[in-house]
Subunit: 453 residues, 2 copies
Amino acid sequence: MVLILRTMTSAMTLDHARALDAQDPLAPMRAQFAVPDGVIYLDGNSLGALPTATAARVAQAVQHEWGQGLIRSWNTAGWIASPQRVGDLMAPLIGAQAGQVVAADSTSINLYKVLHATLLIAGGAHSVRAGGLKSSEKRHNIVLSERSNFPTDLYIAQSLCAQHGFTLKLVEGGELEQALTDEVAVLMLTHVHYRSGRMHDMAALTARAHAVGALAIWDLAHSAGAVPVDLLAADADFAVGCGYKYLNGGPGAPAFVWVHPRHAQTFAQPLTGWIGHAQPFAFTPDYAPAPGITRALCGTPPILAMTALESGLQVFAQVAGGMQALRTKSLKLTDLFIELAEQRVTAHGFTLITPREHGLRGSQVSFAPIGAREKDGYAIMQALIARGVIGDFRAGDANAPADSTDRHDILRFGFAPLYNSFAEVWQAVEHWQAVMTSGEWQRAEFQRKAAVT
Amino acid sequence: MVLILRTMTSAMTLDHARALDAQDPLAPMRAQFAVPDGVIYLDGNSLGALPTATAARVAQAVQHEWGQGLIRSWNTAGWIASPQRVGDLMAPLIGAQAGQVVAADSTSINLYKVLHATLLIAGGAHSVRAGGLKSSEKRHNIVLSERSNFPTDLYIAQSLCAQHGFTLKLVEGGELEQALTDEVAVLMLTHVHYRSGRMHDMAALTARAHAVGALAIWDLAHSAGAVPVDLLAADADFAVGCGYKYLNGGPGAPAFVWVHPRHAQTFAQPLTGWIGHAQPFAFTPDYAPAPGITRALCGTPPILAMTALESGLQVFAQVAGGMQALRTKSLKLTDLFIELAEQRVTAHGFTLITPREHGLRGSQVSFAPIGAREKDGYAIMQALIARGVIGDFRAGDANAPADSTDRHDILRFGFAPLYNSFAEVWQAVEHWQAVMTSGEWQRAEFQRKAAVT
């Protein structure tokens, strides 16, 4: 093997990037994904790529398990145990143990379950401590989150706080520690921020929450499969997350939910459907929760979607070195992207939004268009997509404080260490530079017409 | 065509049944389903058969839309509009109009949404009328349902009643009218009973509910695609139902939810996820419900499952005569099954549980083993399944009143007029008679070992 050396100050060439791929122990994993020719896919943080095994696996579930097995497949094909089986595949990716995770429903619905559970615990603990004060006199009456948390999390929290007499308090990310006072019942955060890619210190914030008598719920939508997560080591209370991003479970894949063992036999969630019952097929008239995490289930599991998610998770089981190996590559990919973009593109009017510090970074990189380019982010991303470089655009948040970078529009690039290569990083920046120097983003076809997904 | 005539008193032969198939205008629909050779599938009321078009359609969604289109398919493949598009296919089957139905989540979760919505309406109406009495003094403080309603519906109602200070009152089916007093806030019923196959008079019970100031929620799990339903004519308030039974949407297919236009712009449901937001991609911090039924959505739609359900519903669009034609055939199938079973099998120890009156019958037939066979239903069904006649067994409800037929175990046979034939009805009874006369059900392999699905 010829090693192509360079210094950090000289510009990297495509050959340099290819040399990095040649040395990448994870490079062979790319063959397990069906990324289309001509596409540099940097949006696996919105929808992960299709694992090549998944098409055949889903076809088998449709034609053989459903078509031939019919109703018998609930037992013979193991459908009924799929929420737990898929959960067990998820567990090692998030620092949980088998039997602690189930796959079910959507992230929003799972958050509703666990936030409701924490409000009951907070209310119950409060009653024990203070002898049953009224809602307005609760000591722990705040659900604390981040102003710029992913909106669906905030919407769910608004609904539950309104129903149960809690107050949703939103602060900036940097103000969280200070806002963790003894009025807080629940700290509800997304671990890696969907816009900036900034990662919270889960263990530190959880410890701080516990110190004031609050519980901690973590949304791992942008973490699971992207960065090492250790829920047990962080002593988190509840966690939810999404199956369709870095876990490559398919569009709208089932989400997951985890509960710490100290709550698993006692937590109560309000979506008390039959699949979470202790004896779902006894058809008893009264609800009795199943032991442990199974009570987080509600309705009949969506088998075709569950099958695709299971197939996606099975890819992770083949990664030598697991999440640590993926993290090592992820940081190299995002480091290289930042380095090359700052060498070749940012002078055209962009600034880095994502933290440079490894400990604060997830597996995505966001740049904001600034100055003369401030309003041109959408068109620039459309021009990139037209070249096959698929990232995404997120509009700035007009509700953010005047000094917050959240006010900026952003170009968001997700890096999936399972299938993205160093050559793709190089090529993406090459295209981006070409889009800027050619001015092709100014074409009418790329200009914003309406709200986009 | 040779018509083979018979009198009602003479035993029908397989040729007679085949002649009925030859005259059946729906017989060609069978070719659109992949029922395995050697199987007489009478469990489409648990999991509908696989439409032959679905395998290719799902493969296209996996390989082309997800694999090639990736994130772009939310727009280019119409994924984002799938809940409404699938809902529009559902609408004509349940007497609703396009724009009134969405496909989403599970039946249990959709019931949670609409029951919560009705409790808010009941509470609100109450406040207006009575000036804000406390929960314990509410005039309308009862959710009324049937003791033997499908358990998940009761579990969800228990959860919501406990949370919001309502009382869940359960009565026998025959006591519903009498129990509809002016204390009732919500009448929550399943239209066709999952055990007996008995069908409620939706219009009459809804009118009676409205007369006492209550709202009516209907669960159409065993109705949609099985019997004509006219939600608008019945003036129902809310409805939910399931996509995986008679709609042939696949195992754990998305469920659906309908709201009457008089509530559609005002109802509030608590699972306030981003897909139900007025502007999901504006990422605004505060929840604002989308206009109309779209606010019933919560998380990201499960596209692979949605695709299979859409494919299943597209079969219905090809039925000349629609639900009325399906109903005509369904009644002929269940009539014939009852007639043949009573000629040839019931003397071995079975009694009919399903109503004989057409107006009271769904699209399934249940027989209870009685007398010396009272405890043998499970083994008899296993022997039938071993012969390829797939129905299902449901254990009796020990909580039922002493005089209720719900205490009986049942053998349950579902008839799907899209794909079941008259010859299959004849053959099923032939097998059943053979199982009884041979005594093969007494084999050890068919005896009950543990709880079954």
